[in-house]
Amino acid sequence: MRVGLVGVGSHTYRNILPALHYLPVTLAALCDVDEALARRTAEEYGGLPVFTDAGRMYSEVPLDAVLICVGPRQHPDLAVQALSAGLHVWMEKPPGLRAADVEKIRAAAGDQTCAVGFKKAYMPAVRKARELVELPEFGDLRSVLAVYPMTIPRDGAGVLARGEFTNWLANGCHPLSLLVELGGPVRAVRTVRGPGQDASGAVHLDYANGAIGTFFLAGGAPPGYPVERYDLFGADRVVSIEDSERVVYHRGIPFDYARQRDFTGPGTETGSICWQAEHRLATLENTGLFVQGMFDELYDFCGAVLDNRPVRSADLDFALHVMRIYEAALLSDGEPVGVKG
């Protein structure tokens, strides 16, 4: 399908444009308010038409869809504009500054496909974890623990009122989207802050299915540290996702406290199973675009458009729910805050 691209900054250059090589798309035009930047990038990609106004691009270049990668202040208007022009839309996260922005986009979407780039929902590790959590032997999901380097502003209501774009939105939505993808809808959240204006702490999630979640806000983690870790607890089973690429399914061993003399257990039906990306081969599955879900989120969008089917995960309803959790966690100061369903 023919796609246009709005926003050709560093993230687009590193992650969106390289992913297109593996997608059933023809890149037909670029748009950016920085015309010189757009022209340089367009030259690299074969001399594409360049625009500084998305509306002009939509009227002058035949397109099926547009990929928007600008920022949450611009995404709502850009998405509505593209949808109004009859295009399918994929936009990078965050979709806006407020949940209401997503509602506005949803109202404009009609029958068109509109997806948001919550890459964590598409990570192969998350897909595998979901498959494991849904095994009968896993039992009901009881609890989820997420560890991610994050702080949360103290004046949440002020952040929302002033329309601030903080790291809690920019990157907090990564683990939040994963927690929704694996745990399902959230009924309420409760945020506990540590000291300081941008505080470490924890967000407790009360899932609609009865599970409980903890998003540990690991402020103070050094750069280059493996960013994230997730543990999902079922009935005598645990699924762990470590550093985005290592999935461990802990099945335990026959255990007799104080009498056990062998940590391996008999046969192969006990113990932990581990999958991890191999890093020596020059293949696709071990590169960031694929490990981190950027390819799969775009591939799902393309499939939804071409096959006329719903987006599998990060559609606008999903995005709206993530944004509502984002807002509720900002507003909570130790007390539960409900998340609209």
């Binding site: 074969g46 540290y225 960013v227 985005s244 890093h279 020059a282 590169t287």
Partner: protein
Amino acid sequence: MTGITFGYEAETTLRVAFLGTSGHAFRNFLPCLPYLTVELAALWDPDPARAEAFARQFGARRAYSTVDRLLEETAPEAVMIGVEDFVGEEPRAASLMAQCLRAGVHVWTDKPVAARTDTVKELIALRDRTDRVAAVGMKTMFNPAYRKARDIIRGPDFGRPTSFTSRYPLHVPDRPGRPLTDPAVRSCLGHIWHPIGTALVTVGPIRSLRYEPAPAGGGGVALATFADGTVGTFHFSAGQSGTSPLERVDIVGERTNIVIDNASRLTWYRRGSTGPYGRTSSYFTDDASAPLVWEPEMSLGQLYNSNNFVQGYAQSLLEFVDAARGVRPLRFGTLEDALEVLEVFATLTG
């Protein structure tokens, strides 16, 4: 490595052409170009339709199905080669590199650059005569983990390297003397660059090798002596599982050693002790001697965790571009390095 300049930020660019449309070209070489400050002037493949398709995909200005015409009409400053086929006994890369050098163009090619040491010697003579840069994409010599190991080994706290062990699933032909056109020999030629490149960049050249084949599976064990006296073993683990990380390297110095797992996780066990045997109640040593671990963080949409950077492809091409622009001479992935690899190849298969 720090500070990549993106293509759109470059004040000047190197005018390059790309020859070939291999799978590696699609996945690993052409996707690196946005980080090389180059301008892709032309792309060649003997199949005109395939050349056109790749040119369109990667933004090459023009597509060609004959190399002569490409060189004549687009006059690139440098050429990158990513082909996988053979002309007779030799990889096509050898004749393409020679053709480009004779045209006065700097050349980088994916491995294997050649099958015979004599061919590499001819390319070295041609390179010297034309005063051009000739580089071979030996990615392991640019892998950040192996480069870090090299720095540690040459630093003040490692002593001299004493022994080296590498596990890599290289298939070695079951008997010597098979022709260079034999598929088993070509398979060995295609992959031997990796374990030997790792040895070259960390310890150095190998001076002797004695090989013992495994009873089944296509692998075996080689005992090596390096030029500096270090002894080493290459465990060519051809029978290992496809689910296993391919490679593990252990380099021992003087009361210190380095382990590199999965080509991406480096642990340096620095000089230290956990205390007297049987009397020590804690395995924690003081911070100054505690083992150090580096591995890529995999969550962020950054360059360093992309496989083209984890494995060294991008760095190999960056090194070539710097050399072609006269920033500094080629340090790794030289034709002399290729000669070292092919000496080992000849020992194993000859």
